[in-house]
């Protein structure tokens, strides 16, 4: 350990702190660091492969002799499987494997009752129609209300339908929040609702499984190669060492693809029995029904403030459903300095597909209510809502971001709510967000150079699609004084070093510091060898612009590498010491978004005209990719705010819109102009100062849009998605 002083923060708000770089690792980058490659726009290194179709997704894998598998889902939300007749399906030529789950109680529509494997997808489809299932249909409850009604059927055998989870169910103190209302000039009680949103990954869930000599290869569509290796080995009761998981390119996960699922295990088992590779990828309907979702919420909020804009109490009681799963809590982040704040979040079990983590779990729903309440308080005390936010927020980053965002959206032109004239009314709204520094230790990165100057950076984690490959190349290029094109990055095979799951926005912030350590260590070795063989003082030498600089003799990087006839490699780890959990500049990541909307008051249609997103993620490695992430988060947020809704028919419990026509996702014509602004902060979390971005980018969008709609029409829609029927009902109720 050697102590190092480093200046953290951003221009206009800096502080000096002491850090302890571990021996053999590089110095930490502060606000005055002036990197050559990091912080410049770089196109995705796999962009051309992706747009030409050369990039191979797991869905594209076609090992010789590939067969196709499918699980058959129940059309009933709650039923007992009495008998499954597979005779006809088995008799069909080309059907290779079939099994049924007689006696199973299905607890949601889509829950699997049988599985088939066939030579071709066409035969498989025909075979599925030949399976007859005899169900004893049982009463179901698919809505929060139905599950809480008197005499509602129990969803889980060992639990009530409504539970307060021990973990994450409560936060703060509801008593303190209630007490804090004392002395308030305004106390508002409101109910906010959010819908169930499905992940709708473009590449559906699933994998291709192949056995060779008792070892299993799984080409998985996953955001955690090592998670799939662990879970599938566990399910099959084989050593993890006998499993290799490969994910070269990913068609979307958003939190729903962390481990091996029932269909993956089925494919692996079937592949072993029939001695041929088997692919089991979900169809679109199953993707909606069984592969996870963002749980709903009904948030009863009681907030209070003084006339001067002092926030007092914030009470939130929420009920939500993640179907047969949990995780229905909301997080109204403690962005503001309330005198007292508390929350309790009940989970309501229903006969519906289980919820899974979904891009910033609990946050978009929590922010929609929180930021709606802040605007409602501002309206009640006749204060500009942005001013109320500033007054109660002590985060220097967000306060600076507000300045930028307000200017770019033209906040000064914001009118009094409901005062815009004409049939189509414009409005402005804003919302704040926060996220966490989530990178962590454990990642092992190999950096290898060859005699000819080739550089390989390898790790077994996956690129979920955010551009991890490129980000890692940028970091390695920076350390080795090269360009991004000089670095080859190999990701997504579990035979390489351990890497994290892409969840919690932690991939880049976990692997990045390890890449820097590995490249730094390779650099030290190159410089030491050059110093020894060619001459020079190693402490004065560096790799810059493709050259060894500061040495006795000018050498190119390639010439330096030629001193290693067999090349060499280093495996470097990022350890706990490489992450500063004290988060010495700001404990969290901050962001804010501003939205401009236009509401057609005769048809109820909301059009999002523009979104300005200002976001911190620590040091920005590749601003082009960062803005792309921010755009993606905003787009998914617009979609959540206006369109997406998993609709279950109350009479059957089955989903009425399990496709991508009726389950509406924002399309190109509905997208707003997006101004994505990165706000770099030297945060001192790790040697680079980098944090994650995938999740925070979508936290504030729906909240900002909800507030902009209220500003436009003067009446608030407290329910997502904000669809024309709701807008018209609200306008009618007002008049």
């Amino acid at each position: 350990m050697s102590k190092q002083k480093v200046r953290l923060g951003f221009k206009g708000n800096e502080k000096e702190v002491e850090v302890n770089p571990r021996k053999g690792t590089p110095a930490w980058m502060g606000v005055d660091a002036d990197p050559a490659v990091i912080g410049k726009d770089h196109a995705r290194i796999d962009a051309i492969a992706k747009v030409t179709g050369a990039a191979k997704y797991s869905y594209d894998m076609r090992p010789a002799g590939l067969c196709y598998a499918k699980l058959i889902g129940s059309p009933h939300a709650h039923a007992k499987v009495k008998r499954v007749d597979l005779t006809k399906a088995r008799a069909l030529k080309g059907v290779l494997f079939a099994e049924a789950q007689e006696g199973k109680t299905v607890r949601f529509a889509g829950d699997d009752v049988a599985g088939l494997v066939a030579e071709t997808e066409e035969i498989l489809d025909d075979a599925i129609r030949l399976v007859t299932v005899d169900y004893k249909v049982l009463p179901h409850a698919v809505s929060e209300a139905a599950a809480q009604a008197d005499g509602a059927p129990r969803v889980k055998r060992n639990s009530e339908n409504v539970v307060l989870p021990r973990r994450g169910g409560t936060w703060g103190s509801l008593d303190a929040a209630a007490a804090a209302h004392k002395g308030a000039d305004v106390v508002l009680e409101r109910v906010y609702r959010t819908q169930v949103q499905t992940h709708s990954c473009l590449e559906t869930h699933g994998s291709v499984c192949e056995w060779n000599d008792g070892k299993l290869t799984v080409w998985a569509s996953t955001q955690s190669t090592f998670g799939v290796r662990r879970t599938i080995a566990g399910a099959l009761r084989i050593p993890q060492g006998d499993v290799v998981v490969i994910t070269q390119h990913m068609g979307g996960g958003f939190g729903s693809k962390f481990g091996a699922d029932r269909w993956d295990v089925f494919a692996a088992r079937a592949a072993k029995v029939i001695g041929r590779p088997v692919r089991c990828m979900l169809d679109r309907k199953a993707e909606h029904l069984v592969a996870g979702n963002r749980p709903s919420s009904i948030q009863r909020c009681k907030f209070s403030a003084k006339k001067n804009g002092t926030l007092l109490g914030a009470e939130v009681r929420s009920w939500g459903t993640g179907g047969i799963g949990g995780g229905a809590g909301v997080l109204n982040p403690d962005i503001y300095n309330f005198k007292g704040a508390g929350r309790e979040c009940f989970n309501v079990y229903t006969h519906a597909g289980g919820g899974r983590a979904f891009r910033a779990p609990r946050h978009p729903q929590g922010v929609f209510a929180l930021e709606g309440m802040i605007d409602e308080l501002a309206e009640a005390i006749k204060m500009d809502p942005l001013e109320l936010r500033r007054k109660n927020d002590s985060d220097p980053v967000r306060l600076a971001e507000y300045e930028i965002g307000a200017k770019k959206i033209g906040w000064k032109t914001r009118k009094k709510s409901g005062s815009d004239r004409g049939v189509k009314k414009r409005g402005l709204g804003c919302a704040a967000s926060l996220w966490y520094h989530t990178g962590g230790p454990g990642t092992v990165v190999r950096c290898r150079i060859e005699k000819d100057g080739s550089v390989l950076v390898a790790n077994g984690a996956q690129d979920i699609g955010t551009g991890t490959r490129t980000v890692l190349a940028v970091i390695a290029a920076e350390e080795l004084g090269l360009e991004v094109k000089d670095i080859e990055v190999r990701l997504g095979t579990t035979t390489d070093g351990f890497g994290p799951a892409s969840g919690g926005s932690k991939t880049a912030a976990s692997v990045g510091p390890a890449v820097r350590n590995a490249a730094y260590s390779v650099k030290r070795e190159i410089l030491a060898t050059v110093a020894r063989d060619v001459g020079g003082d190693v402490d004065k030498m560096d790799l810059k612009g493709g050259q060894v600089v500061g040495g006795k003799k000018a050498l190119t990087f390639k010439q330096a590498c030629s001193l290693f006839p067999d090349g060499f490699e280093t495996d470097a780890k990022a350890t706990a010491e490489d992450f500063d959990r004290r988060a010495q500049f700001a404990p969290r990541i901050s962001g804010c978004q501003f939205a401009e909307v236009e509401v057609d008051t005769e048809t109820g249609q909301v059009r999002v005209v523009k979104v300005v997103a200002v976001q911190d993620c620590g040091r920005v490695i590749d601003p082009l990719l960062a803005r792309s992430q921010l755009n993606g988060g905003v787009i998914q947020g617009v979609s959540y705010a206006l369109f997406e809704d998993r609709l279950l028919d109350p009479n059957t419990g089955d989903m009425v819109n399990p496709n991508l026509v009726d389950y509406k996702i924002v399309g190109s014509l509905d997208m707003p102009e997006i101004e994505a602004v990165m706000f770099p902060v030297a945060n001192g979390i790790n040697s680079i100062g980098m944090s994650g971005l995938g999740e925070p980018s979508t936290v504030a969008t729906a909240g900002a849009i909800g507030n902009a709609v209220a500003n436009a029409i003067g009446v608030r829609i407290r329910s997502l998605p904000i669809t024309p029927d709701k807008v018209l009902a609200a306008l009618k109720g007002m008049s």
Partner: protein, 321 residues
């Protein structure tokens, strides 16, 4: 989808002949609606007759039923003489769909009702006793506001209200004799077990659309409202044509789409102003008289009313120019 035989028809007469004789056959033009129905096994034909390559020469001035929506939207003569038709074609679905979907197929397409398109649910049109969209608690915000007692389906065609407002007639081919149909006569009320509520005989095909340009058709428009701009179906649509004589309405056509099992001509609303001054609010109110919205779709009345006002305001403006 189930496996089926596939034949490419040489011409419409041969196709009609083959279709009328076959036991369980289906005609395919662009296929943009049909393929979905095959995948969901709403249709399980033994035989498919492809019309896309069939010879179908139609007299000048008639619109070939095999013309794609993109053809229609891009036709300068149609835009001049029948703007409602061009406007209806150009906003349908997506560019990709418009490049394949045909005029004939658009008129004969099936309802978007999600209870119809998913065999997990019961559906009157698919032969069940009841309609899932009419049940208590049903999710029916996109369904008809003029439902029948037995079925809540709404017809999604863009072209049908436009062509109805343009007094179009359909020329149909059948082995027992060709005939002409008024556009509105194509549509039937929903019947049990009849997936597509159109009045065509078994094997009968629409060959062309007959349109006559008049001052009325030249001042016509089509507007629709949908929740999403990219690839969505109309929640409500209105096609209208207006011919003015000074301040007096010489003639008017007003047809509503997506509100019932077929396009709905608002005959009574037209009567209010024909030969009189144009009172747009009165027409808009009258257009939806008699509607019996379902539990979740009363908002469609407001939307449709707004569209009627917008369409007539637009046409009144154009007439004055």
């Amino acid at each position: 989808m189930k496996q089926f035989g596939y034949a490419i028809a040489a011409d419409f007469a041969a196709a009609a002949e083959a279709l009328s004789k076959a036991k369980n056959s289906v005609a395919k033009a662009g296929g943009t609606d049909l393929l979905d129905l095959l995948k969901e096994r709403i249709y399980e034909p033994d035989e498919m007759i492809h019309l896309g390559k069939a010879k179908n020469e139609v007299p000048a001035g008639e619109l070939n039923a095999l013309a794609t929506l993109a053809d229609v939207a891009g036709d300068a003569r149609i835009r001049r003489d029948f703007p409602a038709l061009a406007e209806a074609a150009e906003v349908a679905a997506t560019p990709q769909v418009r490049n394949w979907a045909t005029v004939g197929g658009n008129l004969c397409q099936h309802t978007r009702c999600w209870y119809f398109r998913n065999k997990d649910f019961t559906c009157f049109k698919r032969g069940d006793d009841d309609c899932s969209a009419l049940k208590d608690g049903a999710l029916n915000k996109y369904n008809a506001v003029f439902p029948t007692k037995e079925c809540g389906c709404a017809h999604p065609s863009n072209l049908s209200p436009a062509l109805a407002a343009l007094d179009a007639r359909l020329r149909c081919v059948h082995p027992d004799g060709d005939r002409e149909l008024e556009l509105l006569a194509l549509y039937d009320i929903p019947k049990k077990g009849v997936t597509c509520n159109i009045h065509l005989r078994k094997g009968e095909l629409i060959r062309s659309v007959v349109l006559n340009p008049t001052p009325l058709t030249r001042n016509s428009t089509y507007i629709e409202f949908r929740e999403r701009e990219s690839f969505d179906f109309a929640v409500a649509s209105v096609a209208a044509a207006l011919e003015m004589d000074g301040d007096t309405v010489r003639d008017i056509r007003l047809v509503l789409g997506a509100v019932s099992a077929g396009p709905l001509r608002a005959v009574e609303a037209e009567k209010i102003v024909r030969g009189k001054r144009l009172d747009i609010d009165a027409v808009a109110k009258a257009a939806l008289k008699g509607a019996t919205p379902l539990s979740q779709n009363a908002y469609k009345l407001h939307v449709t009313e707004a569209l009627v006002r917008r369409a007539l305001t637009e046409l009144h403006g154009r007439a004055g120019r």
